[in-house]
């Protein structure tokens, strides 16, 4: 088995993930690109587990399992943020999010008044 084949696959997938995160405007597509990057890291870990004879056996595969759990937690919180953003602005384009926080849209002010009433 030549380990260079899965290593190169992982490197290309990571590059694709970086490209997708920087290129996409829709927040859900950005999350999909983040998943590509996490999977590239998993592939590197599993391949390294076959090539490196470590003192502790199967350390790479255990870390791949941990990364999968981290990705599940990340996608849960990330989708909660995306849905909160959609409720707030009816739009999930990441380059239209105000970063200062002062110019909240009027829709949230109306919602506040409704809740307070």
């Amino acid at each position: 088995m030549r380990p260079v084949i899965p290593y190169v696959t992982a490197a290309l997938l990571f590059g694709l993930g970086v490209y997708g995160v920087l290129r996409r405007r829709n927040a859900v597509l950005v999350l999909m690109a983040v998943e590509l990057m996490l999977n590239a890291v998993n592939l590197v870990l599993v391949t390294a587990d076959t090539t490196v004879r470590a003192t502790l056996p199967h350390g790479g595969q255990v870390f791949a399992l941990f990364v999968i759990v981290l990705a599940a937690a990340e996608i849960g919180v990330g989708l909660a943020i995306v849905l909160a953003l959609y409720r707030l602005r009816a739009n999930v384009a990441v380059d239209e999010i105000p970063l200062t926080g002062d110019d909240a849209p009027s829709a949230t002010a109306d919602e506040d008044q409704v809740v307070q009433a």
Partner: protein, 167 residues
Amino acid sequence: MTVADVLLAALGALAVGAGVLVVTTRHLVRAGLYLVVCLGALAGLYLVLTAELVAWVQVLIYVGAVVVLLLFAVMLTRAPIGASDDLDRPGWPAALIGGGSGLGLAVLLVDAFRWTRVDLPEAGTAERLGTAVFGSWVLPFEVLSILLLAALVGAIVLSRPEIGRRP
């Protein structure tokens, strides 16, 4: 080229091709379905690399749960069904950084592992991985449980805006 090499190359090409479609397609739903193909090909790669348990966990959690969650998010944000033109930002910085990092890492790894051949180790079955997790990696495992609890609470608080609002 052994059988394992051929399988690795074919599944790797499938994964990379589906990944290209994920980041370039103009249909939101199709991006999620191409992601299924990409993650399934990666599960096949794990099987060839003798990581049985990781492969099945990948199928269960990624293909079964994460992609379904992403498709739910696509539906809940009222994404258009057909092709949409406003999904992308101007591309050359992204292509520069993404292509540079991907090809740079690929060149680095090819240079490091060009002629290396290894024998596949013993399979990472559930029994062996369970021994490793509960023997050597107990503390990270417990920390992960706390992290999952924190993520659960955080997702609930984020999705219920009335929590924490002053009356």
